[in-house]
Amino acid sequence: MLLAERLRSILRGPRGAPAADEAASKIVDRSPRARFVSRQGTTIETVTRSSRGLEEFFNHIRGQSGLTVLDVGGATQQNVSFITNLGHRLYSEDFLGILNESFGPDSAVDQSNPGRIEYFLRQALDYPEAHFDGVLIWDVLEYLAPALLTAVVERFHKIVRPNSYMLAFFHSDQKTEAVPYYTFRIQQMNLLEVAQQGSRHPTQLFNNRSLEKLFGPFESVKFFLTRERLREVIIKV
């Protein structure tokens, strides 16, 4: 008993500082869940969690202002406030909304149709070359079939300035079932509020190898695996 107490005091440090594992648990505890009923009457669950990928993304644009950032997850007050408060210009696109409009909900129409792909790109990513200094892709790429995905990634490569960064999320669960899709709201440089909006069928599964292949033409790809079995990927253009 005494030994355990002594050991605990040693771990706490000389000034009663929390032990390393205590500090770690505090970080883990920063993922409070909240439930609220939307105006449409549906219950939305939000989780606040830390994000290494987001931190890494902002580390690269920290100290600069006047950059042009694209958020393809739709406009949210938090993201607009956060990015514009950093002094950047924000472009907003509702990628999944346009995907639904172009191919039907849950991709009822063939996503490999070249005409449809062209239409989709015109609607969602019709921007000049090297226009953006950063892109928040979030989890939208998971819902694109191979042909559309390749076209979208190529377009990103074109419209994002070299040496800029993009942030994308991929589920790492090896399941073909529907996965939840989220709205990601930036709380801090390394903190995200994640609100589940529904679920969709991912059109393909990704592992590190397939992601490296997908982003082959890019400068580099860096992975962070979260506790929610989500791969956060930082792509350097």
């Binding site: 449409q40 406009a75 007050q77 938090q78 514009t84 408060n85 002094g87 210009r89 472009y91 907003s92």
Partner: protein, 189 residues
Amino acid sequence: MWNKRREEEVPKPYTPPNPGATPAPAAPNPVEAKKEATSVSSTPMGRIDVEARSGSATIGKAVKIVGQIYSKEDLFVDGDLEGTVEALEHKFTIGPNGTVQASVRAREVVAQGTLQGNVEATDKIEIRKDAKLVGDIKTARIIIEDGAYFKGSIDIVKAEPVKAAPKAQASAPAPAPSSPAPAPVEAKR
């Protein structure tokens, strides 16, 4: 003493808010007068409608306008509008039924319906739930409600620092260098 207190407690007779209206004959009983006022009220309107329309020029939902609008008062559009809108010192509201295809310059812009075009608001822009805004925005503050659709770019233009009055400067012990305030963006859930 008791009588005096009773006199104080007697409620004042209700007077209608419209000063131009002919005064109603003096009601012998104040309760009756209140009843009269209630019966005069028109069809109930939604909260937003009342908020937006009070004291502003209104373009109804059955009206379509093509051209340029210069407004020197607040403007509420619930119909169709194509062209340009300038209400530099006033509020421009697009009602829930409104469809505006125009470049807009106003002090404040509130979108409840559909707006396609570039928007410049010196004070703020509000994109309400179910509203759709496609275009580039330049403003000092922006409010986007959940459920709103926005496609375009957002430029936050910082408000120019207001020059302090000379009297206030004199009273200040050490004048601090004026710096522009960080772009205030309101959070709304």
